[in-house]
Symmetry: C2
Subunit: 301 residues, 2 copies
């Protein structure tokens, strides 16, 4: 079997470098100065954690289309803030009631529910603020376009809508189309938006955009299938979050629907289609996006 | 005493007409179609309720500067969505734990805490979505500017930050500067942003902008002082929300700090300054903004 693109030195060092850039940018943009320790809570929710997959997708997509790198860094951080806020709210007692996230106590466990609620709300607002710098470094049209993409991916027609379906699905045996539809909203929309916000930093012809959008959709679905697999095959210490909680909560998953082996085959198939869509763009600089698809398939946490 | 501007037929009919426009626009933009009844919950949180003060400020400010009316209607609804989501989250058990809002059961009482949390999150995202229409009806620069104004007013440097200070202030005897600083964030930022988002729909010289901004700041402070007064002088049925809850929660208020009579005098003084700042703009069409300041001073709920 050929070496995975995600194992190459080039990708490993790119990933490490970009993760550092994102971490530094987040640290400078999520200020500790917000009143009454709100900034401290926001930083706890955002910094020192996670694979930063969504920011990496934004940055790699920007590189693939040779877009505006400074705008992409803002978009990368904005997407991560939306992801981070969703985890904070999702972990609260009225939702998943989880105590462990990224190997640390969840925000409401550490700071109380009210602060968790407010910090999540403030992180969402900050995401949009980041997309409209006041230093004239980004044109209004690009800012507006990124705000719209992020709002659609985060709201009722995206992530929040998917979470509502998720809540309503506990104990219900969804069929595969319904399960896929839920995940297209719950996790897929923001992953796909990450790719497309990176793409928005350049002028790209519609046909190429459509293929990059398909890449994002296939990658998003594969990500969720792998997530369901890891939930049953990996321990909490490795995941950095509570393992086995889907089954415990009686939530429908790709594993409960298809079995472990078929779920793995399905993830591989989705990733193959992501690679195909990407190759069909005929863009010269897509190695990193290819490598990210491999990385999603091979992740262990 | 001369008749208040807020009692004139012209203002009463303007207000009624604009409230209807805002209601219709909100009803068309907050779709019931969102998955798993999330749209139903969002509509419950937003429609048929409230004085719509913030939207009225946006629309009146737009008229005063002869700005883009269609953009102002979007901005008006966006501001109201932020206000509505903040009420939903603020009423939750981990915050104010309130059961009555706009004369109806609060969202979490009616639909459960998880749906309330998600609907609030989705309303915030929708606010930003509204500011970037995909029909080309608004320029990117204006969309971007409005997004930035709204994000700053809603986030850690505005409303969410003020709520964090509010939470941290229970049982603490704040002095007047601290109390004012809290309210400048908690309620003032969004009221002032309402004015300034309306102003942004036209090109306005900086000196006039500064005066309109001062009008918004004074009006915002007066609003909160009146709110504190109503909390002790008015019953729950008239308010449509639980009366007396600040005292019950041992929260510092202008009434607990200054006494009822001095608080009323202070509110009048702030409103005088709002009128003065507005008059100093020398704009020809400020009657409605003047009338809104009177309306804030004389409101009974």
């Amino acid at each position: 079997m050929s070496k995975l693109l995600s194992d190459t030195d080039a990708f490993v060092s790119w990933r490490s470098l970009q993760q550092q850039r994102v971490e530094q940018a987040l640290s400078s943009w999520v200020s500790a100065d917000a009143p009454a320790d709100l900034g401290v809570v926001m930083r706890y929710a955002v910094l020192d954690g996670g694979k930063r997959l969504r920011p990496l997708l934004v940055l790699a997509a920007c590189e693939a289309v040779q877009g505006d790198a400074a705008a992409a860094l803002r978009a990368a951080c904005a997407v991560e803030l939306i992801h981070a806020y969703s985890l904070v709210h999702d972990d609260m007692p009225c939702m998943d009631n989880d105590v462990l996230r990224r190997g640390k106590p969840t925000v409401h466990v550490k700071f109380g529910e009210a602060q968790a609620l407010l910090a999540g709300d403030a992180l969402q607002a900050l995401a949009f603020e980041l997309l409209v710098p006041d230093d004239g470094s980004m044109g209004g049209a690009l800012s507006a376009r990124l705000c719209r993409q992020l709002a659609l991916a985060a709201g009722a027609t995206g992530m929040a809508g998917g979470q509502a379906v998720d809540l309503a699905s506990v104990g219900i045996a969804l069929d595969r189309p319904s399960l896929e539809a839920m995940h297209r909203l719950k996790t897929g929309a923001l992953l796909q938006a990450s790719v497309m916000m990176g793409v928005s930093t350049a002028s790209v012809e519609p046909g190429v955009q459509a293929r990059l959008s398909a890449y994002g959709a296939f990658l998003g679905l594969a990500f969720q299938v792998v997530d369901d697999i890891l939930d049953v095959t990996t321990d909490s210490a490795t995941l950095g979050k509570t393992a086995g909680k889907d089954a415990a909560a009686d939530k429908p998953t790709f594993v409960s629907l298809m079995g472990l082996e078929a779920a793995q085959a399905y993830a591989d198939q989705m990733l193959d289609q992501a690679h195909e869509a990407l190759s069909a763009t005929a863009l010269p600089r897509t190695e990193t996006l290819h490598a990210l698809a491999d990385w999603v398939g091979r992740r262990v946490s």
